[in-house]
Subunit: 213 residues, 4 copies
C-alpha cells in the first residue's frame, strides 16, 4: 500500500518525456502492433508507466498512468500493462534505476529465438560495449540473458531477480518476445537500449555472413 | 442493387481516415508502384474503397469511392480497384469486419513465394501472436494461408470463402502478390497487418540464419 | 544544332517536378554520393536534365539545365551529367518517352553485379509486373538486361539501341553501376523505377533464402 | 601550444554546419548510443570538434568545442572526444583536409569485423569508386585498411601515419568500431563517407548472396 501522494508536476514532466521518446522508438518500428511498454520512477513509491494496449505511435498524456512499486494502479481506473510487474521489481530491487524500456524490434525478437537454446548472447570485441554504464573498454564481454517466455510475470520476475543476485545487468531478452533495458534516467536507458539493438543486429548479420556458428 | 443512400458525413470521416493511414503505409514502402488497395465499411450496404491505380503516397479524398456489397460503383463513374470483390466478399460474409487492408510489402511478397508450395505459413512461439483478436497467449499457433495468384477475383474470393467455413481468419497471402488483413475497425486491421508483417519478417530472417528448413 | 527556343514556363514546371521527385529518391538512399541523374523532355528538341555532380538531396532550380537531343548544353555554361547521352538517345529513339530516371540504389547495384555474367535478370510470377505499361497479368515475364559498365557513353548507348530494335523495354541495369528506367511522364517513370527496385529486391532476398540458384 | 586566437565567426558557421550534418547522420542510425565524433578545420592551428558523449541526434552549438592541433582544449573546460587525436593528426599531416567524420553504422562495424583478419577490404568494379576524389573511372580499385581496435589513440594514429606514407587514403576502418572518412570540406567528406558506406554494404550483401568468399 502506498498512502503518500506523488508530485503531479514531476509526473507531467515524466509523462511528456515518455511520450516523446516512445514516439521516436515507434517510428523506428520497435513497438509493432500496440506491443511494448515504458516506465519512469516518479519517487520512492511510485512509477509512471504506459497503459495496456495503446498504439505506441499515437501516445498522449492519457496513456501514462501511475502505479505503486507492487504494480497497483494509484488514483486511476486504467489498466496498466500486463508486464508492469517486470518494471516495478526492477525499481524495487535497484534504487539507482530510474527508467525501464521494453521494446519488440525485429532484431530483438529474432535474436531471442536464435539464442533461446543457449540461454544467452555473448557480445564481445565491440567498441560500443563502452556504451554500457561501467564499461570503459571494448575488451569487456557482455552476456545478455535470454529467458523462456511465459504469461506468468511472477515467474519471469523471479528469474530476473535470481540473475541480479549474481551479476550486474542492464538488460535481458525474453524468447519470441523482446528486450528489457534500463538505466539511471531516460538518456542512459535509451543509450543501453540502442547499444543492445546495435550489437544484436551485428551478431545476426555476422552469422548470416558465416562468421558465427 | 442498393437503392438506399449512404451517410455522406460518415463517408467524409472514413475517407479522411483511409487517406491518412494509407499515407503512413506508403511511407513504409508497403504500396509500391501504385499497387495495394484499402476499404472501410460505410454501412450494411456500402463500402468506401480506394480507386484503381492511384499512387498511394499521394492520395486525397478524390481517390476514395463508394461501392455496394457486390462491388458495383455507387454514384460514381470512377473505376474501383480490380480486387474490389475480395474486399466486398469479406464485408458480406463477416458482419463484424469494418476495415480491409491489402498491401504489397517486400516481406509479404517474398514470404508468399517462399511458402506458396506449402500453401501456408505457420507462426508460433511469438508474444506478438497476442496481437490477433481472440488470442491471449504466445502458446497459440496461427496458420496464414497462401493462395495461388490469379487475375480472376471470383476464383480467389471463393477460395477465401471456403477457408472461412473451416476456421477464423484475420488475413491471407496471395503468391507473388501480397497480404490481405482485416479487423473490426482501422485500428484493429492495422494491428493485424503490422503483426503479420512483423512475424513474417521474423520467419524469413530466422530462415536466413539457418533456423528454419 | 537546335535554333528554336524552348518554353521557359514549361521548363520551370519540369524543373520543380524534377527537384521534388529527386529529393524523394535521395531520401530513399537511391542517389548516394552525388551519383544518379534525371531528365524530362521539354519539347521535340530539348531536354531538362540534372547538372553533373550535385548532391541529389540538396537540389534546387539551379541544378537543372537544358540540352538538345544531341546532349549539347543550350543557353548554359553548366556541365551536364557525363551520362547525358544515355538520356538523349532514349528521347530521340522513343517519341512517347517523356522522363528518364537513373538511380544507384544498393539493390540495383548488387543485382547488376550478381547478374552481370548472365546478362539479364528474369522477373516472373509477380503481381507487380502489371506495373509495367502494357502488361496486364502476373503471368508475363520481364527480362531486365545488364550491360557491362564503361566510361564510353557511345558504346553503352549503341548497346541500348540494338536491344530496342528487338524488344520493348522500360529499363536496364549497368554492371556495378545502377538502373535506368523511363516512362511517358514522371509518374509512369517512377512507377517503373519502383517496380524494378521492388522486384529486384525480392529476387535477391529469395536467393538468400535458398529459392534461386 | 597555440597562442593565436581563432575566428569566432568562422567557428559559428562551422558549428552550425557540423550540427546540421551530424543530425542527418544520426537519423540514418550511423551514430548509435552517443558514439561517433566529427570535426572541421578552423584554421592552421585550430579544429572545431564534437564533445565527448553527446547524443548525436540532439546536438546543439554547446556540443562543439575548439582544440589545437595537439588535441588540447582551447578556451574551454569541456572534454573533447577520446578519439580527438585521430582527428588532429590528420589535420597536421594533410593540409588539404578540412573535415573528418567518424561514424559507427552497422555496415561499417560488421565489415570491420569480417575483414579484420585480412587487414583490408578491396572495393573494385563499382561506378561509385568515382566518388573518391582523384578517381575518374570504375576500373580503379580502392583498398580500405582495417586496423585492430585499441583504447590507445597514439598507437592507432601512428598506424594511420605509417599507411599515409605509402598511399593516398580517404578513410579507414577500426575493427569492431567504425569508419573514419575525410575530405577537403564537409561536402567532400560526406561524399566519401556515403561512398564507403554504400560500397561496404554492397560487398556484405554480395557475400551473403554467395558471390564473395
Amino acid at each position: 500500500m502506498n498512502a503518500l501522494p506523488y508530485d503531479a508536476a514531476r509526473l507531467a514532466v515524466l509523462a511528456e518525456e515518455i511520450t516523446t521518446n516512445v514516439a521516436e522508438l515507434a517510428a523506428l518500428g520497435w513497438t509493432p502492433a500496440t506491443s511494448s511498454n515504458f516506465s519512469r520512477r516518479l519517487d520512492d513509491g511510485h512509477v509512471a508507466i504506459t497503459v495496456s494496449g495503446a498504439d505506441k505511435g499515437r501516445m498522449g498524456r492519457e496513456h501514462i498512468m501511475v502505479v505503486d512499486l507492487q504494480g497497483t494502479p494509484v488514483a486511476s481506473d486504467q489498466r496498466p500493462s500486463a508486464e508492469t510487474l517486470l518494471h516495478t521489481r526492477l525499481y524495487q530491487r535497484l534504487p539507482q534505476v530510474g527508467c525501464v524500456l521494453h521494446t519488440h524490434s525485429p532484431v530483438q525478437t529474432i535474436a531471442s529465438r536464435l539464442y533461446a537454446g543457449a540461454g544467452q548472447v555473448r557480445l564481445e570485441g565491440y567498441e560500443l560495449l563502452k556504451a554500457f554504464h561501467g564499461n570503459s573498454t571494448h575488451e569487456a564481454a557482455v552476456d545478455v540473458p535470454v529467458f523462456a517466455n511465459t504469461q506468468n510475470m511472477k515467474v519471469l520476475a523471479a528469474q530476473v531477480d535470481a540473475l541480479l543476485d549474481q551479476q550486474p545487468l542492464w538488460g535481458y531478452l525474453i524468447d519470441g518476445h523482446g528486450l528489457y533495458a534500463w538505466g539511471r534516467d531516460m538518456a542512459q536507458a535509451r543509450r543501453h537500449l540502442e547499444a543492445f539493438e546495435f550489437l544484436l543486429h551485428c551478431e545476426l548479420e555476422l552469422r548470416k555472413l558465416g562468421c558465427r556458428t
